[in-house]
């Protein structure tokens, strides 16, 4: 942990490289394992890649949604505030599984025939909307934590409201919001498993299939759990390094 806070840049690079190497090379050590793991090594690796893709796409989209939602909830323009309030109320008040099924079953009937959404895209959209709502509250808390004097100083220097937000408020609010956002990201890695319900073959689905074929749930689920742990460790290392990076100017 100390090393992370002293070398946040290197830690981020290392965590990213580690994650990539893991995803690429996962099949190699697994194929050496005895049945039922060895023969299915490539399936495990593919499932892990889908899980990471879902996490990265929904995680990034969720940050954008969270920042927009957090700004919107604090907006003085009431219709925008109400819209963002409604969004958070709706998403937090309904199960994620229902949201995934809704996007999968209902959205295609609304869209024109020419637009086809893949199962993966449906899962990514539902997960983005879900984490976006939770991120909204974290970002809002972050913005509220920025001392008002910072805003006054920026405005007194002649910065426009938008410049004040982008240059002063947002970077400072992220410093506060990041631990909570990282928490949401760690949840997302695991929540992405619910995409199995709409037949996205991610990690949990792979495990379910292989144990059903082999009747050996213990080694299969242990493998899956280990892969999840490695993934969440990589993601949390990444976010704590980012946190350390953003703490500059804050430590005494």
């Amino acid at each position: 942990m100390n090393w992370i806070s002293r070398h946040p840049g290197w830690t981020m690079v290392a965590a990213m490289l580690g994650l990539l190497a893991f995803l690429w090379g996962l099949a190699i050590p697994l194929s050496a394992a005895p049945a039922p793991i060895g023969p299915a090594a490539e399936q495990f690796a593919e499932g892990a890649r889908i899980t990471v893709w879902l996490t990265l796409i929904a995680g990034s989209a969720g940050i954008v949604l969270g920042v927009l939602g957090g700004m919107g909830k604090l907006s003085k323009f009431l219709p925008l505030k109400w819209l963002c309030d409604f969004y958070v109320w709706l998403i937090r008040g309904t199960p994620l599984l229902l949201q995934i099924l809704f996007v999968w079953l209902v959205v295609p009937t609304i869209l024109p025939e020419s637009i086809q959404l893949s199962d993966f895209a449906c899962a990514a959209i539902a997960l983005s909307l879900n984490i976006g709502a939770y991120n909204t509250e974290c970002v809002r808390a972050g913005i509220l934590a920025v001392p008002h004097g910072q805003v006054e100083a920026a405005r007194a220097l002649g910065l426009s409201p938008l410049q004040t937000f982008m240059d002063v408020i947002l970077p400072q609010s992220m410093r506060v919001a990041l631990p909570a956002l990282a928490n949401n990201l760690a949840s997302l890695v695991k929540d992405s498993s619910l995409a199995y319900a709409i037949s996205v073959v991610e990690l949990t689905m792979v495990g379910y299939r292989i144990q059903a074929e082999s009747y050996q749930p213990i080694p299969v689920f242990l493998t899956i759990a280990t892969i999840y742990l490695i993934l969440t460790t990589a993601f949390t290392t990444l976010t704590s390094a980012l946190e350390a990076q953003l703490q500059t100017g804050q430590k005494r």
Binding site: P147, G149, Q150, E152, A153, A154, R155, A156, L157, G158, L159, S160, Q163, D167, V168, P171, Q172, R175, L246, T248, G249, Q250, K251, R252
Partner: protein, 252 residues
């Protein structure tokens, strides 16, 4: 002591009224300030002196009356406000340096964003200003790494980087440890001789006496005395001012 070069008024405030709910903060305040004039604004806590200063760059909105700065009316017109804020710098009691930026970036941000100055020019200017306030070697530190007195000197440099015609000081030494007050006053004293218009809300009677061209005494939201430092400190007209002086002198 240099006299103001001209009698051209740069700030004209007429009949300013301001209420915070039931509290009547400013009562029919009128005052005009000439270019190059250094005015000390004194008075008991809650007398409206800070509020008055803050209405001059619209950190507080006045309820009625008119404020004209360098020929431009201060009102809801955002263009007017942007122009005025470029010409009017402010130094705050609690410094309000941007905590996530280095000292150098604190100073270059507004010139680059608002005046569209190039980074190279802005940094050269920032270095020159840091040199002027005696902080040549601190450019790459963060605000928390500096003492209060150093932070306030950076805040003065930051305001000067916009080449303001008017500099507002809102109790610039009130948050400082006693041994740091002088280093800030020294910088302000030098500034006063450069011909910039200064309005200084202060409890430093020594500074008001030596440096100011004019002293304004606020009490209960109104200007009670508006005279020369000599007249104010030797023979104030009003009993409230006499009582105030007796109180602050007690500390000396």
């Amino acid at each position: 002591m240099p006299q103001p070069d001209t009698d051209r008024p740069i700030i004209v405030a007429r009949n300013i009224d301001k209420r915070f709910g039931a509290f009547h903060a400013l009562r029919n305040v009128s005052a005009s300030f000439s270019e190059g004039q250094v005015t000390a604004i004194v008075g008991p806590s809650g007398s409206g002196k800070s509020t008055f200063l803050r209405t001059l760059n619209r950190l507080e909105k006045h309820d009625s009356g008119s404020i004209v700065i360098d020929g431009i009316e201060l009102n809801d017109d955002l263009k007017h406000l942007d122009t005025i804020r470029r010409e009017v710098g402010m130094v705050f009691q609690s410094f309000n340096l941007f905590s996530h930026l280095t000292i150098l970036r604190n100073i270059t941000l507004a010139p680059m964003r608002v005046r569209k100055m190039s980074r190279v020019d802005a940094e050269a200017k920032a270095q020159a200003l840091l040199d002027r306030v005696g902080l040549k070697n601190q450019a790459h530190k963060y605000p928390v790494q500096l003492s209060g007195g150093q932070q306030q000197r950076v805040a003065i440099a930051r305001a000067l980087a916009m080449d303001p015609k008017v500099l507002l000081f809102d109790e610039p030494t009130s948050a400082l440890d006693p041994e740091m007050v002088n280093e800030v006053l020294t910088v302000m004293r030098e500034l006063a001789h450069t011909g910039i218009t200064m309005l200084v809300v202060t409890h430093e009677m020594g500074f008001a006496k030596e440096v100011a061209d004019r002293v304004i005494f606020f009490d209960e939201g109104a200007i009670l005395e508006d005279t020369t430092p000599q007249a104010f400190f030797t023979n104030p007209d009003h009993e409230r001012a006499q009582a105030f002086l007796a109180q602050v002198r007690h500390g000396f």
